[in-house]
Amino acid sequence: MATTEVERRRGQLAALSIAAVVIIIGVPLWWRTTETYRAWLPVSQITELAKLQLQLSADVEVVFARGTVTPEQQKKVPLTQTRDEERAVDEDTSLRYRYETKYRTATIMEEDALNQPTAAEADLSLHMLSESPCGSLVVYVIPETSLLLPEDVNVYIGQRRTALLRIGTQMRVGKTLEQLQAHLEPRINQVLQVMSFSHADITAALSDRVRFSPGNKEGIADSMRAFKSSPGYEITFSLLNPDPKSHRLHWDIEGAVQMYIQPLLAKLSPVANFSIDSQTLNYAMLGVNPRFDNSRGAYILNADSLAHVINPVEARLGSNAASSNPVLNFLLYVPDAHHSPLHIHDHKKQEVPSNAFHSPRWGGIMVYNVNGFYGTEAEFPADININMSKVMGVFLAQLRLLLGVQSSSPPPGFLVAPCGSTGIADWELDRLMWSRSVENVATATTTITSLAQLLDQIGNIVINDNIAEQVSSAVSSLQLAVAELEAGNLGFALQYSKEAILASEKAFFDPSLLHLLYFPDDQKFAIYIPLFLPMCVPILLSLLKIGSEARQKRREKQAKKD
């Protein structure tokens, strides 16, 4: 039986070598050719970003005017002082505010500027002297005897990044430096709270990362009013004329935008790009029928019904075909002749003086009554020219609110300069930029971490090189933005945070992620079964057989030994 033994051995060897070929060549080949392409992602850096530690640094310069410190004190005044404030928001996010305060005495030119008759002029000439960079503040400490500020005002906040602080009466010359500092510090802090970032703003900006406890609902409502940070906004002014037969409306929207809106938007250009258009919608009706109030002789629109007002109008407003940026709608509604005048009442049944309302993250609507401008027996259609300064005043206020320019009421003793022709003061812009940078950073980190999480969980998703590139650039921009915030370079921080948000959104919404996500299992079976089943079953069976034979042989050997 030697030949049969040899034959059997040969068969076994053949089976083993086929199995070896399949395992050594076939399996790796199959593995390599069916692998989904997954480019390398900076996972460790992303997990680092998941724990966000933000440090916001603001440079504050405190300038002592003549008559506030004695020469001896002046020598002892520390040059710089750093104050850190640490706040933990939740387990993954912590904030640290750093105020780097520099002390110096006023230069001669500044002294001259401070001798101007009014605070506004002083503010302007101080601004002419030196322009402080974005995000920094200058506080001028002026003597108590200074005539710049009215009697009951202690702090004047200018249109730029300067504040004038009148030293208190009890701080006459001769007190020690420590006393002076102890006196100044809380007041400087107050000024900082108004002019620079406040904790409330920053936590509101972090709402993307941090879930609010249900307690501070009012704060949420405030933070919800403004549009979310976006690289661009579309502003649309719509004139609604439900009755073109009786009113022929004319509005000089072009001039009004040039005069009222453009200066504000030019100032806001570091925050976002804006594009403006306007349209006239005829036969645009409101969604509710206003009720006639006999006692007032006017039609009334209640606050409760306002939610239903815009729905039919919104269908006609039209979305912006040319971009996907959020749209801010401002509607000017001219009620038809039979429903005039129309007044909006608030929840307390009081007439709203501006006759305008706004809806958070949507826009504003203003009712403009024209029935007073023609007599009862006027000839229709009446040509009506709309007073744009009245309208734009309302829209500008709404625009500020919707863009998140906070106008929190200042503490007592503060006088805030009215914002000039631009509609927004420099320090207001800084506050906006602080919160927008933080919001962008928060949104971009959330996007990037959730994308990384998603890609980690689903192995089917193809990660192309361009996505990896976007993710890497988002991560590096984020790191840069965080570093710039730490260094106090607000402008760069905002710039980098915008880049980060763009790159992260682009990566997250890339359609190529979806290509193989839903690769159906039946097709996979259809491809693999014909190949694997007929091939693997004989191999497996013969391997099993060889195994069992070998075991049997060993048992026989064992038996023989015994």
Partner: protein
């Protein structure tokens, strides 16, 4: 050994069973697949909700708040007064500057000789502005904002889009005022500042598809062509470099209410006033032919072309079949056709008119028109001088005492003589089987003594592979050599065939163009959901300058009815006509779509048999077997065994 073989066949049997079972199993996995899908889906939605947590409460918490306008929020009150630009208060002005935009509406009704009624609505918005300048701020009054944004964003010079349900029967109905092929047609001239025309075109079609609720997003490189001669700009501007032109048709597009509603929304008065109140979809779509279109182009305001303006022309052409509307007597009225009457013109329109074509009815012997109108106008349209009764809706007297206008046409005699159109065309596919075929295009010149050239444009999808060497052009039995041929061969899955020819049509003749093609095999994912319906091939476009019997009006800026002023007229002796042929419906070889599973079973078997026997040969141990004894011998042995006798 026999046992061995037996085990082998058992293994094979198990293998087959197993494979069949697994194939069945894979069928079942399709059923359970969506569970898998949703499980897979979850992490993403979870992460997305993380993304959007902030947005969701915003919707819930959307609250209306009174706007408090503080004094400081109106910064410019003081400054405006010093500048003196603001008017003190709203005042009724007696004299106003002439508005820069103008809106006109018009309805033409023409009783057709076939007994049908042709109604053509035209709405024109002229806007004196300059899109070419790159200014960002755009303020719209009558011009729709959505289209204005599209034009300025994509640097469009001219845009023509039409949606058509039904086929215009030129032989029965004559020429339409505005021709359109069945389905959707889009052609756009871009400004020469556009660098990447193809990308812009792709984006533009997607945006338009959103605006018009149509499947224009299916326009891609496989159905887009750049005609070299057929589609010249209709507005001003002498850009003739056809690399800025894109033309695409979707012959399969079904036009319905969802396309009409956004179209109506573009009108300044919407469907609330003016002629547009007649456009009720339940009546409009109950017709033989309906075509709605939007044409945007720059036009001259005056003869010298000092000022230019944008023209938006919205047109809607509809042919009602009088016989299907039920009544045996031939009677037509606005109310019967549109289920509405007119009560007012659009207050924003500078002109609002209804024209009724009474050319064939000079003495009123054919039909009676009520209410009668004293206004008559003559216009040269499509090479013919026609007479119209005109109703001016801006005049209150038009509506009479009942304050509503219901035009009524009552026929007296049913006879009519058909003036044969000078040019018409038809097309069909010939051949049998699923491999090859032949496209026949017939062009008729019905002019008794004049020959004229026509431009034929054919865009054939790549899956019909044209054999261009089989192209023949014959008229009156003789070979008619085209004087100009522009042919661009197709590339599979990339671009269609484009064939443009300039052919001279002899007088009173039929010119036949044939070309053979082969049908390509598609990949199984490239078939439409109903592949046995067939595949559409868009209409051929025949553009021509047809000799006119009357002198045409070459002054394009003169006041004339809208329907006669669309195609600019360069010379008096001829007029421009565009004729679309029928779209073709071609069957392609269609596979059996359960095939993949058959393929699985088949491959399984083949691999199992082929590979299995090879494997068997390689691993089996062979030994010489003694030849088995014959049947008789075995039987004998059995008997011997029973008897206890030694075996043989």
């Amino acid at each position: 050994m026999a046992a061995h073989r037996c085990s082998y066949s058992a293994v094979l049997f198990i293998l087959f069973n197993l494979s069949v079972f697994i194939v069945v199993d894979s069928h079942q996995t399709t059923l359970t697949n969506d569970h898998h899908g949703s499980v897979v889906d979850n992490p993403q939605t979870a992460s997305e909700t993380v993304e959007q947590t902030a947005a969701q409460p915003a919707v819930d918490d959307r609250r209306w708040e009174a706007t408090e306008v503080e004094e400081e929020a109106i910064p410019d009150d003081a400054s405006t007064d010093t500048q003196g630009t603001s008017t003190p208060e709203s005042v009724v002005l007696s004299s106003l500057p002439k508005p820069k935009d103008d809106f006109q509406e018009e309805l033409v009704v023409r009783p057709l000789d076939s007994g049908d009624i042709y109604a053509s609505f035209q709405f024109r918005t002229l806007w004196e502005t300059d899109f070419m300048r790159g200014n960002k701020v755009s303020h719209y009054r009558l011009f729709p904002k959505s289209l204005g944004q599209v034009i300025s964003k994509f640097s469009v010079r001219e845009l023509h889009i039409s949606f058509t349900q039904g086929y215009w029967r030129t032989m029965q109905w004559g020429q339409p005022f505005l021709p359109a092929p069945p389905g959707a047609e889009l052609w756009v001239w871009f400004q020469d500042t556009v660098t990447d025309v193809d990308a812009t075109w792709k984006e533009l079609t997607n945006v338009l598809s959103g605006i018009f609720c149509a499947s224009l997003n299916f326009i891609d490189s496989t159905n887009t062509v750049q005609p070299s001669a057929s589609f010249k700009p209709l507005g001003i501007g002498n850009v003739t470099d056809h690399q800025f032109l894109r033309y695409a048709t979707l012959p399969r597009e079904i036009v319905c209410t969802e396309n009409l509603t956004p179209w109506k929304k573009l009108l300044p008065c919407g469907s609330k006033a003016g002629l547009a109140v007649l456009l009720k979809s339940e009546k409009l779509f109950h017709s033989s032919f309906l075509s709605q279109a939007v044409h945007i182009r720059p036009v001259c305001q005056d003869q010298q072309c000092k000022t230019t303006s944008w023209e938006l022309r919205q047109t809607l052409n509809v042919v009602f079949d009088l016989h299907t509307s039920g009544q045996s007597k031939r009677e037509w009225s606005l109310f019967k056709m549109f289920s509405r009457t007119l009560t007012e013109a659009c207050p924003l329109a500078s002109s609002s008119k209804i024209h009724i074509d009474i050319t064939d009815n000079p003495e009123g012997e054919q039909f009676e028109l009520s209410p009668a109108t004293p206004l008559l106008s003559q216009a040269v349209v499509l090479g013919d001088r026609r007479t119209f009764s005109v109703y001016d809706l801006t005049q209150q007297t038009t509506f009479g005492a009942v304050r509503s206008l219901n035009l009524l046409i009552r026929w007296k005699s049913s006879e009519g003589h058909m003036l044969r159109p000078l040019l018409h065309a038809e097309r069909y596919v010939a051949g049998y089987g699923l491999q090859t075929g032949e496209i026949h295009t017939l062009m008729y010149n019905n002019h008794p003594f004049r020959s004229f050239p026509v431009l034929l444009l054919d865009s054939v999808p790549w899956y019909l592979r044209l054999y261009i060497h089989t192209l023949t052009v014959t008229s009156k039995g003789k070979d008619n050599k085209p004087s100009y041929i522009h042919y661009q061969p197709s590339k599979d899955r990339l671009r269609p065939h484009l064939l443009e020819m300039l052919v001279q049509l002899p007088p009173n003749s039929v010119t036949e163009i044939t070309v053979q093609f082969e049908r390509a095999l598609l990949k199984w994912t490239e078939y439409t959901p109903d592949p046995n319906h067939g595949f559409y091939v868009g209409s051929s476009v025949i553009s021509s300058l047809v000799p006119s019997t009357v002198a045409m009006d070459t002054n394009s800026t003169r006041e004339q009815p809208l329907f006669s002023s669309f195609f600019p007229c360069k010379e008096e002796s001829s007029f421009f006509v565009r004729v679309y042929t029928e779209p073709l419906l071609v069957n392609l070889p269609t596979p059996d779509f359960s095939m993949p599973y058959n393929v699985i079973c088949l491959t399984c078997t083949v691999v199992a048999v082929g590979y299995g026997s090879l494997y068997n040969l390689l691993t089996r141990s062979f030994q010489i077997e003694e030849p088995s004894p014959g049947l008789a011998k075995r039987l004998a042995n059995i008997i011997r065994k029973m008897r206890g006798v030694p075996l043989l």
